[in-house]
């Protein structure tokens, strides 16, 4: 990919400059445009679910209100704090990369990964509780206690939305892991740290989606 034949002298100093870009800034800006566009598609993907949720909630207000009491606000709140903290460590990681501080960068990336892991563990306990009670989507709904007809639909949305979000957390962890590996290898410097920046953008979106999911599913009556 890094074609150095054309201008060997200048390009030798930019090992990660791809051959079709004239200069590093152009590559960074192109990457940013690409990432923002990708984030737009993510917002629209989740947007569809939010719209569907909104429409079904207005059709079945009692069922949705009753069903959301089964969610554990403490666990949800804890996860919100965990994800917000992970966004903070991600910002610090990007700042460390920009300041050419490799050790700090590695520490903050590891911390971000740890927070992401904690989020998934909490989610795991929440899910197992729902599984145990039979609070499952669609035809698998088998809750035995008192409930309003139609609650299965709320849990359909609950599992689709948090499940899709969970997949995004996993993908984000993969991306952070990749950046971490490159950071340990010493690829990044204050001249080149675009991947850290871009993965950071993605991670903030994953956080942001949760910021909307939490009140929508856990808090709103």
């Amino acid at each position: 990919m890094s074609e150095t034949a054309a201008q060997p002298g200048r390009r030798a100093h930019e090992p990660f400059l791809q051959h079709h870009f004239a200069e590093p800034e152009q590559q960074v800006e192109a990457g940013k445009i690409g990432m923002w566009l990708f984030l737009v598609t993510e917002v629209l993907l989740f947007g569809g679910l939010f719209v569907a949720f909104g429409i079904m909630q207005t059709r079945h207000p009692e069922a949705f209100a009753s069903a959301h009491h089964h969610l554990d606000r403490i666990m949800g709140g804890l996860n919100t704090i965990v994800l917000l903290s992970s966004s903070f460590t991600m910002v610090m990681a990007v700042a460390a990369a920009a300041a050419n501080k490799r050790k700090q960068l590695i520490v903050f990336l590891v911390l971000t990964l740890v927070f992401a892991g904690v989020f998934l563990v909490v989610k795991y306990f929440e899910y197992s509780h729902k599984f145990h009670d039979g609070l499952l989507p669609g035809k698998y709904y088998s809750f035995q206690g008192e409930s309003v007809p139609g609650e299965f639909m709320f849990f359909s949305f609950y599992f689709m939305m948090t499940g899709l979000h969970g997949i995004h957390v996993l993908a984000g962890m993969g991306a952070i892991g990749w950046v971490l590996r490159r950071a340990i290898r010493g690829d990044f410097s204050n001249r080149y740290y675009a991947p850290v920046d871009l993965v950071g953008l993605y991670w903030h979106l994953v956080d942001l989606i949760w910021i909307y999911l939490f009140p929508l599913l856990y808090l709103i009556q």
Binding site: M1, A22, G34, T41, M56, P137, G138, S156
Partner: protein, 544 residues
């Protein structure tokens, strides 16, 4: 370092010895390539294969409709045939045909760039396309689909054919489309040649840009819609199922929120090709550059506001219907702006009726009919009568086949020498173009007439009174099919020859004609610097 292309002496390079096709050899070099030209070529063969497959299903549908009741296949097989025709043509052929195949090849060349912004993402988009295509194939082999390409609920959630797998296929293909869109937007923003401003970009780039915006904004919604449909089938989540408190019309809203903009994903690149072909073969500066450029963006914008016109008879509110009808009419304005500007470009130009130009003129005629009949369908009172009849079928085939496919053929003939370095037989091209034009109209004019008389679409059986028109339509499809086979024959035949195409066979002024045919791996010997507009045929020494 940079080469200045002077208007008086355009560079006409002959066939290159070493170019992108032969510099690296072997299957591996193709499968791992990140060269936009090779990816474009791989896309081209793939979409042409899909076109062939979709075409075979089309011929099957037409053959079955030759007579009322059974002609050759049973009703269930017929339902599958029209579904697969639609699904293959839409998701595997038309959507990727112009942007991903031709666009991938020419966009960086038009911009004077070495590649697209994200070459590896570009290759990924191709592999995702292939995976999606395999899923579609898998669906066909494991029971097929009989829901129509629109997958309307509640039938699609109850049909026991292989709907889930086809849904997955469309979902995966959506990612491929998004990747291409993201890539093209970043490329157009960041990789224009020095000196190329937004207003000196070739118009193909504007069309591609508008297309990419729709791809990025609309496709994720299709993704989530198909995911919900899949969940409905697997988990019975209930949101589209009235028995469980859901709403089947909600699916239609979701589906058309993507799929109406998607028809502009299909037509805008077609218009973009016409904007290149018309000035080149009129030897005249494009008339109304900015009007054509901004009308593409306007179409992209309006495309998101008209989806409700698919549900005039589905029980949506009268107010919504009236608003959607009005918004639908708005589409006619930017579309007409384009057509009038192309005509004005041709007016008093030195027309050169080579194959690409023949197709461009064909496009103007057929698209005008397709566009105007769209106004009929956007009119509420008329639509109530025409909804779900052959009038609709004829309308969208005039836009999609008469518009997009004909424009695709124009582009294919225009850039074929650039892509493969070979000239094709001009006389065979004329014969084929004539057959395609005649065959197309024979096929679809009867459908307008039948539709206005009440022949419903997708029906297996029909009243005897429609037989002559159905028969005529089927004969037309044979003429059309023959024309397309001839195109395949002489284009493939040309590949057996030695490279003989000059760098600039048509005298075009955009940058792709300044490099050799086929281009070298890095596109240009040196980074081109733009010194004139893309269509400055009035400059001294350029007038034919």
């Amino acid at each position: 370092m940079t080469e200045v292309i002077t208007p008086a002496a355009p560079v006409h390079r002959g066939p290159a010895d070493l170019h992108y096709l032969n510099e690296h050899r072997g299957l591996r070099s193709w499968l791992t390539t990140v060269d936009h030209k090779r990816i474009g070529v791989m896309y081209l063969w793939s979409v042409l294969l899909a076109f062939l497959l979709g075409g075979i299903f089309a011929m099957l549908v037409r053959l079955e409709l030759l007579t009322p009741k059974k002609t050759i296949i049973e009703a269930d097989a017929y339902n599958q045939a029209f579904t697969l025709h639609g699904a293959i043509m839409i998701f595997l052929f038309i959507i990727p045909a112009i942007p991903a195949a031709l666009g991938n090849f020419v966009l960086p060349l038009l911009l004077g760039a070495k590649d697209v912004a994200f070459p590896r993402l570009n290759l990924a988009s191709y592999y995702v396309y292939v995976i999606g295509a395999l899923f579609a194939l898998g669906s066909m082999l494991t029971g097929g689909v009989d829901t129509g390409w629109t997958f309307y609920t509640p039938y699609s959630t109850t049909s026991n054919t292989s709907v889930s797998m086809m849904t997955m296929a469309a979902f995966i293909l959506g990612f491929s489309s998004i990747f291409t869109g993201v890539n093209f937007i970043a490329t157009i923003h960041k990789l224009r040649a020095p000196g190329m401003s937004w207003h000196t970009m070739p118009l193909f780039v504007w069309g591609t840009y508008a297309t990419a915006v729709i791809q990025v904004l609309a496709t994720p919604v299709l993704g989530i819609t198909l995911l919900l449909l899949l969940m409905e089938r697997v988990w019975e989540i209930g949101i589209f199922d009235p028995r469980l408190g859901g709403d089947p019309v909600l699916f239609q809203h979701f589906f058309w929120f993507y799929s109406h903009p998607a028809v502009y994903i299909m037509i805008l690149p077609g218009m973009a090709i016409i904007s290149e072909v018309v000035p080149t073969f009129s030897k005249k500066t494009i008339f109304g550059y900015k009007a054509i450029a901004y009308s593409s963006v306007a179409i992209a914008f309006v495309s998101f506001l008209v989806w409700g016109h698919h549900m005039f008879t589905s029980g949506q509110s009268d107010l919504a219907t009236a608003v959607f009808s009005f918004l639908t009419f708005l589409v006619a304005i930017p579309s007409a702006i384009k057509v009038f500007n192309w005509l004005a470009t041709m007016y008093r130009g030195s027309l050169d009726l080579k194959a690409p130009m023949l197709y461009a003129i064909m496009f103007l005629l057929l698209f005008a009919i397709g566009g105007l009949t769209g106004i009929f369908l956007g009119t509420i009172s008329v639509d109530v009568h025409l909804h779900d009849t052959y009038f609709v079928v004829a309308h969208f085939h005039y836009v999609m086949m008469g518009g997009t496919v004909i424009a695709f053929l124009a582009g294919l003939h225009y850039w074929w020498p650039k892509m493969f370095g070979r000239m094709y037989s001009e006389s065979w091209a004329r014969v084929a173009a004539a057959l395609i034009f005649i065959g197309f109209n024979m096929t679809f004019i009867p459908q307008f007439i039948m539709g206005s008389r009440g022949m419903p679409r997708r029906y297996y059986n029909y009243l005897d009174q429609f037989q002559p028109l159905h028969g005529f339509s089927t004969f037309g499809s044979w003429v059309l099919g023959l024309g397309l086979l001839i195109v395949a024959g002489y284009l493939l035949g040309s590949l057996r020859k030695r490279c003989d195409a000059p760098g600039s066979p048509w005298g075009g002024m955009t940058l792709e004609w300044t490099t050799s045919s086929p281009p070298i791996t890095h596109n240009f010997e040196t980074t081109p610097v733009l010194t004139h507009g893309p269509y400055d045929y009035s400059l001294p020494g350029r007038r034919a």
